[in-house]
Amino acid sequence: MGDPALSRRGFLAASAAAGLGMTALTACGGDSDGGSSGTTTIEWWNISTTQPAKSVWAALARKYEAQNPKVKIKIVQLENDAYKSKMTALTSSGKLPDIFHTWGGGVLKQQVDAGLVEDLTDSTKPWADALLPVAREPYLIDDRAYGVPFDIGMIGFWYNKALFKKAGISAPPTTWSGFLDAVRGLKSAGVTPLALAGKEKWPGMYYWAYLAMRAAGAEALQKAYDDKDFTGAPFLEAGEHLKELVGLQPFQKGFLGAAYSSPTGQAATVGNGKAAMELMGQWAPVVQADAGKGLGKDLGFFPFPAVEGGKGAITEVFGGGGGHALRRGAPQEAVDFLKFFASEATDLELVKKTGVLPVVPAAESAIADPNIKAVQGQLKKATGFQLYLDQAYAPAVGQEVNDSVAGLISGSKSPEQVAQSITKTAKEEQ
């Protein structure tokens, strides 16, 4: 009888030892001989889990360590959704990593309001002012900077030049009525004008958000959220314009059930030449080529058209990017690392190797793709900026926008009902 007990104890001891060993090993990977030799270890949490970004970023950290022998950088990489839920837990526990990925907007504000984020306005001023202004927007809260960008992008129309030619459309439309004409033209040429992922809802929201921006100006969406009132005339007008578009039945067959990046989804429909346009961010070409065949030279980009009589200009941008923020009280070395990461040398490498859009104007030269250049051109001359609504708004309000706009597109909601249900949710939230 003694033997099994012994072996059980032995097993327990072994697993305990293994556990300790693991802890010791991971500790070695981190701050090995921390304070004694004057080495500072910085924890850097990011979401670059896919190649090539993963190894490029790791190499950059090693490069920084080589330049600064007293600093060790411990990288923690989490996949997008896992990162979001982990950060939710960390935020409520009140302890954030030294350097962490942020999209800015409402989530960052929540963390700032909780007193967890370092104000970078003064410590980064000497070099951060040189970054692309539009890229810094998402991290400005009450005119104070809480983050430094490494990527920026925007939503616009990606179109198939060959199909436009087939329908006899010589130049991309710049006004809403011109856009509707183009849709009619494409339809009568037997081409599906637009692809939309109705199942996922957020791609539909882009139309409404842009139309509201064009009707009321770039500031309007944030103001309506702060005032908890989306029932103003421009928002109803945005709904009416979207309804006009939906009335033309411009979307692919079965769009209400379509996903975005699946092999039968929105991106693949455009990438396989089965629809002429999609309203999507700067990542669209990559996904089109990944989920479908990709359009190559036939792919073009144009900004969301202006709405006649609207206050918003065609140069106002709806978009967002990625950046880094620091926990409150992070060591000076963390600020130095942000400076290193936003330097021209680093940005050139990021643009060249990982395909992000430059945040350092001088790194523009590294862009090879003409479409990405076109997006960059729009961003550079941007006269206004609105962050993606799911990051700018509290989650419940962002989701309600997606949901009620989806209702408008599928025909179950009127523009008034959309405005009212978003207003109702916005009021409930605060």
Partner: protein
């Protein structure tokens, strides 16, 4: 095994017995106490886990349902029953209840009879019987997520297998937008559900059928009963316990349906295939209105509980005799 842990009712420790017997009784009492202790020791880890991971979260959800709470920190904004009144004015949630009822009725009226028919068929002597059984059971083994993704592709409008196949055999009129059309989404979903789950019920029935004694069917045959009469008056009554369990599982499964819907339609188009669990997920994990989501889960739990108790009390009474109706396993 279990009997050693049960206190022996017939003999109190050493009561009214000769001295040696009293000693023996005391010894027994000590052993019994030791047994209790050992049992408690073994159960403690499981009890702690059950309390910590099942019971407490459930009680906490009940508590959170009375608050406006975003999931950060502790709930503090007490709003009484407001989440529940909001719930029963929420068109989506009322729709969820209706769709739940539709799925339950369809399951009971279509899926289970179909499974029963297949079970009876595959209980006959026939060539390749084992292969058919395995094939029909295979979908149940597949994960819901894989099933969802696969049928998403099959029912893709135009390009999907379903539309292509119907087109090839000249029935393109039957094709359509499947999951993408509000008027066909529930039927399509039910089709996939049936494909996925009928094999499981079929297996239950097959096991039940095999427990039906051949002598009884033979006796009925000798008495001149036809095939239908033999099925109706001999097989079916003997299969009843299995049927009752299968109905129970099908109803509870329909009330809690989530993964298949989430992967195929995410509740769309425009909420036309949303279930209570999907709505709860939307509010809890997308909108961070955790208080409201808790209220939904409480209602879901309530519906399941009321159904389960009523069903056990009135329908499963004979099958569960002794297990839940009394605490002691004496079978009376």
């Amino acid at each position: 095994m279990t009997s050693t842990f049960l206190p022996d009712q017939r003999t109190g420790p050493g009561a009214g017995l000769p001295p040696q017997a009293a000693d023996r009784a005391r010894g027994r009492a000590r052993r019994r106490a030791l047994n209790w202790l050992t049992a408690a020791g073994f159960q403690l880890p499981a009890l702690v886990l059950f309390m910590g991971l099942v019971l407490l979260p459930m009680l906490f959800a009940l508590y959170a349902a009375f608050f406006r709470w975003g999931g950060f920190g502790m709930p503090s904004d007490y709003i009484g029953g407001e989440n529940f009144t909001r719930l029963f004015q929420d068109e989506v949630f009322l729709g969820d209840l209706w769709r739940c009822l539709v799925l339950v009725v369809l399951s009971l009226a279509v899926q289970l009879p179909f499974a029963l028919a297949m079970a009876v068929l595959l209980n006959q002597r026939m060539r390749g019987r084992a292969v058919y059984r395995m094939l029909f059971f295979a979908p149940y083994v597949l994960s819901e997520a894989i099933t969802g993704v696969k049928f998403g592709m099959i029912f893709a409008p135009d390009d999907g297998f379903a539309d292509q196949f119907l087109g090839r055999i000249g029935l393109d009129g039957l094709g359509g937008e499947w999951f993408a059309d509000p008027s066909t989404v529930m039927a399509t979903l039910f089709l996939v559900m049936t494909w996925k789950y009928f094999g499981f019920h079929m297996m239950l029935y097959l096991a039940g059928l095999q427990a039906v004694p051949r002598e009884l069917t033979e006796a009925a045959l000798i008495d001149g009963a036809g095939p239908w009469q033999r099925f109706r008056n001999v097989t079916l009554p003997l299969l009843a316990p299995t049927l009752r369990i299968s109905v129970f599982l099908a109803v509870i499964g329909s009330i809690q349906l989530f993964d298949l819907v989430w992967v195929t339609t995410a509740g769309g188009p425009d909420h036309h295939s949303e279930t209570m669990a999907v709505t709860m997920f939307q509010y809890g994990f997308k909108r961070y209105q955790v208080g409201y989501a808790s209220a939904i889960s409480v209602v879901m739990f309530g519906i399941s509980l009321v159904f389960a108790l009523t069903y056990q009390r009135f329908v499963l009474r004979r099958d569960l005799e002794g297990a839940t109706t009394t605490m002691r396993g004496d079978g009376k």
